[in-house]
């Protein structure tokens, strides 16, 4: 009797358990799985042929290319910034550290549309640097550089946020050990620091990449939607969807399905990495216990 009572204290009744599980699963099905499946279904309403054709249409192809270029520029920039920021925050004590951490989180709290507008205010023709840029014939707003800047701003926190806790947990002793063994700063970074934050970094890159390819709001403000020139995949999806014909909608879904596939692929890698890291940690714990 005592045993049963104590069990009831920590465990919910089967009814509550299954109700909760059912609600969670139903929610995921209705709001996540169903719409996603629908995107693929809609994309294929006009058949496989049309699906491929719409993806290979020049403006769509250009949007895919632009999205890849933007990701290829902004992700490495974020890696560089993320490493520098995480290093500074985790390994040094300095004034304004708390402020820097808050600043890194800024893009999370500012609406992407506002972020886009901030860039327009800075670099637009009527903006702060507008005159100077125009005089030197440099186009940022309504051009590819603006899209890259907007994406960099939006994806700013991803790598740094992943790295800071990992670097803080690692501490500085391994690096100091490398120094006492004669290694210079670069050798220490390359052989000691980087391998020890490897998983955090890869994880950050994956999240950053997913967001860079999917960003709509901020990019939309600075792009002006010039088909074939300043349209990224999300913008192209919207433009096609607003088209009037049924085939245009199918083309929108085709491109959207490609974007969703990229996202699912990213999610897959993320899950795999998490599994792998967890396994490595379990191995360590197992050794310690043994």
């Amino acid at each position: 009797m005592v045993h049963q009572a104590s069990q009831r204290g920590t465990e919910e009744s089967p009814l509550a358990k299954w109700t909760l599980i059912t609600i969670a699963l139903a929610f995921c099905f209705v709001f996540l799985l169903l719409p996603l499946a629908n995107v693929f279904a809609q994309a294929l309403t006009q058949g496989w042929r049309y699906y491929c054709k719409s993806l290979l249409e020049p403006d769509s192809l250009a949007s895919i290319r632009l999205t890849l270029v933007v990701a290829a520029i902004s992700v490495p920039l974020n890696v560089l910034f993320g490493l520098a920021a995480a290093w500074a925050i985790a390994k040094f004590q300095f004034r304004g550290k708390a402020f820097l951490i808050t600043l890194i989180d800024l893009p999370f709290s500012v609406s992407p549309v506002v972020a886009g507008l901030m860039l327009v205010v800075l670099f637009g023709l009527q903006g702060f640097f507008g005159k100077w840029l125009d005089a030197h014939d440099i186009k940022i707003i309504f051009a590819v550089p603006g899209i890259v800047l907007a994406t960099v701003f939006i994806t700013f926190p991803f790598v740094a946020r992943e790295l800071i806790p990992v670097m803080q947990a690692t501490g500085t002793e391994q690096e100091q050990a490398a120094l006492t063994l004669g290694a210079n700063g670069w050798q220490t970074f390359w052989h000691v620091t980087l391998p020890s934050v490897k998983w955090g970094l890869i994880y950050g890159i994956i999240l950053c990449n997913a967001r860079a390819m999917g960003e709509f709001g901020a990019v939309s403000v600075v792009s002006r939607h010039i088909a074939g020139h300043t349209e990224t995949m999300p913008l192209r999806v919207q433009a096609l969807y607003e088209g009037t014909t049924a085939s245009s909608a199918a083309a929108a879904f085709a491109l959207a399905s490609l974007l969703a596939t990229l996202a699912l692929f990213t999610l897959g890698i993320k899950t795999f990495l998490e599994w792998k890291q967890e396994r490595a940690e379990r191995l360590i714990v197992g050794r310690v216990d043994g």
Binding site: T180, L181, H191
Partner: protein
């Protein structure tokens, strides 16, 4: 001289963590930096390594002033408290790291590491990662890694702190043997006086950043330079008697104090081994009741209460205890064979006063 510190001071903000410290370490010495936590000993070690810069003073390694040399240029081996092994590298790669950085040739690296693995009893573990090693193995890998590039000095920060008691004892003995074989000048930091007494050739004692005494284990134990050292090294009974008629008195205890004025307060200390106990109440002058007995292995510690309420600790062997038929609650007579004036009101410390001297055992004092 292998290492010399001259007037070295380190300040963090307003407080001096290390204050005007001068030490010389001879070639091949095994020296302990001993003191309570926060005493500045680790900072001294890190300044020798170049991981911290002194605020004032000079540091010399083999006669060369190294203040302006970077960590990399000092050619020291440093073993961190938690070993700081490279987690992502195997034992082999950990030990090879310093050699690769110094651009040793591949066959030379192989040879050197084979030699070290053998010396450190790590053969067969070269493909393991740090998390697959025991605490003792990790420590040996850390020391092997530090010694691989043949440094001129080996510095160890609390080398026995991260392993459990049984392995600690083995590692101490192993370190002494290793030092004997390699004869590399070695400095290690510890807060454990027993460890310092057992392992080191010489001990430097710090408290709050100030050097209290430098000496061999026997010197610091038998001739502590001041009250701090006397109380920190080994156990001590400490009493504060007052002088009346050239005798310092507290409770029923009396200590001869020729030349001291009436009313003067002294601080007197005596080691537990200096207290002699007998179950024969007529044998010694003072009487006391045995309150507690603590078993410490071969030795015992007993606490006795005098009629005045004073408590005195004594130490004896198990044989002596049972031979005397002692037990808690039994009345005994006692005498204090040997004591020391630790402090007096405004005066230097005198030599040890001797009342029938017997050389005390230096090691194994664990009371």
């Amino acid at each position: 001289m292998s290492i010399e510190l001259k007037g070295v001071t380190k300040q963090f903000g307003d407080s001096a963590v290390v204050n005007n410290v001068t030490i010389s370490v001879k070639e091949g010495e095994l020296m302990a930096l001993l003191g309570p936590s926060g005493g500045g000993k680790t900072t001294v070690l890190r300044m020798i390594a170049g991981l911290e810069m002194p605020t004032a003073g000079d540091i010399f390694i083999r006669g060369q002033r190294v203040n302006d040399l970077s960590v990399q240029q000092r050619n020291i081996g440093f073993v961190f408290q938690n070993y700081a092994l490279f987690k992502n590298m195997t034992v082999f790669k950990n030990i090879a790291f310093g050699l690769k950085i110094k651009k040793w040739k591949r066959p030379d690296i192989q040879e050197r590491i084979a030699e070290l693995l053998k010396l450190f009893g790590l053969e067969g573990l070269e493909r393991r990662y740090p998390h697959q090693l025991s605490g003792g193995q990790r420590q040996r890998v850390a020391i092997a890694r530090a010694l691989a590039p043949e440094p001129s000095v080996l510095l160890l920060d609390e080398p026995f702190g991260a392993v459990d008691a049984k392995i600690r004892q083995e590692l101490r003995e192993w370190l002494v043997t290793l030092h004997h074989d390699l004869n590399v000048t070695t400095i290690f930091v510890t807060h454990d006086q027993e460890e310092a007494l057992e392992v080191a050739n010489r001990i430097v004692i710090f408290s709050r950043g100030v050097l209290e005494q430098v000496g061999t284990p026997r010197e610091v134990y038998e001739q502590p330079a001041n009250e701090f050292v006397a109380r920190f090294i080994g156990a001590m009974n400490v009493l504060d008697p007052e002088v009346r008629g050239e005798v310092a008195r507290i409770g029923e205890l009396e200590f001869p104090a020729p030349g001291h004025a009436d009313g003067e307060k002294l601080r007197i200390g005596f080691r537990p081994y200096a207290v002699q106990i007998s179950s024969d109440l007529t044998q010694y002058r003072y009487h006391a009741v045995l309150r507690h007995t603590f078993f410490l292995g071969v030795l015992l510690r007993v606490e006795m209460e005098l009629p005045s309420g004073l408590t005195i600790r004594a130490r004896m062997t198990k044989e002596e205890y049972s031979h005397q038929g002692l037990e808690d609650g039994k009345e005994v007579s006692l005498q204090i064979r040997q004591y020391r004036v630790l402090a007096r009101e405004a005066a230097a410390l005198p030599r040890e006063s001797e009342l029938g001297y017997q050389p005390p055992p230096v090691l194994g004092e664990n009371i």
